[in-house]
């Protein structure tokens, strides 16, 4: 069961319409290292985790990623909301507009739709936790490139918050991996 809390995890503000930046940030909505992929990866891997700490971490981080997906959506929505057709064309977002108007859709920065092949679920907890650590680093890098591209200080502030969370999640997954490895050794020798 999930509940919806009618607030964002972190406040979202933008300086004004900016379809060019929206086109880039949307990759963290539906791109390979984006928040949808992160959330679904963790929430689907949790079923075959062997210890309570791993089940808890995957459930809780998977849930926090849904909140990050909402933050990214709020950024894109507000960057597009008051953009004119001329601005959308100039930003190269006219192809997206043809298919979706200003609606949110799961694509990367080049318009490629989301696919389940962005994520993996192997059943081996060591394998899955390594994937999760790599995923957090890839998302952190993506936020850094987005921060480099951003010309909106308010949007940059939100991107920095999201970047920080990837660092924390990486840390928690690393600790979880060690706990799983200890559990495996214990099972083997005792």
């Amino acid at each position: 069961m999930w509940l919806y809390e009618k607030k964002l995890e972190y406040p979202v503000r933008v300086c004004g319409p900016n379809p060019r930046l929206a086109k880039n940030i949307i990759t963290q909505y539906g791109g390979p290292d984006g928040e949808l992929a992160a959330s679904l990866r963790y929430l689907t891997q949790r079923y075959t985790m062997p210890i309570p700490q791993a089940k808890g971490v995957l459930t809780d981080i998977g849930t926090e990623e849904l909140a990050h997906m909402e933050i990214v959506a709020a950024l894109v929505y507000n960057l597009l909301k008051d953009a004119s057709i001329e601005e959308i064309k100039a930003a190269g977002l006219d192809g997206y507009y043809a298919d979706h108007d200003k609606a949110l859709y799961f694509v990367n920065a080049e318009g490629v739709p989301w696919t389940a092949s962005y994520i993996q679920s192997k059943g081996d907890p060591v394998t899955d936790l390594h994937e999760d650590m790599a995923a957090e680093e890839k998302a952190r890098s993506t936020y850094e490139w987005l921060i480099n591209l951003s010309d909106d200080p308010d949007a940059t502030d939100v991107l920095k918050f999201l970047r920080e969370r990837e660092v924390v999640h990486f840390q928690r997954f690393g600790e979880t991996l060690m706990l799983v490895q200890e559990w495996k050794e214990g099972r083997k020798y005792f």
């Binding site: 509940l3 009618k6 607030k7 406040p11």
Partner: protein, 89 residues
Amino acid sequence: MSDDRKELLRRLMVAEFAAIDLNLYLDTHPRDERALEAYAKANHEVMMARHEYEEKYGPLVNFGHSHSIGKDARTWRWLNEPWPWEVTS
């Protein structure tokens, strides 16, 4: 959105962020006494801030976890605007 409402929302965001971060930490350090104590504090602050916000500005959680019906018993307050992505100031 009024200044008072913004400030209450900010207070809730701060408290809940502490709870989120401590929750993840406790998932891998379930016996850390300092973290348990800090989580208990954050938990209390989230409850207080959420209660105060909801009393004044309406329900925050769906599916039976907030008082979503108005005092006149005739209004469905869950639909009150704005929605989170519309709050930008």
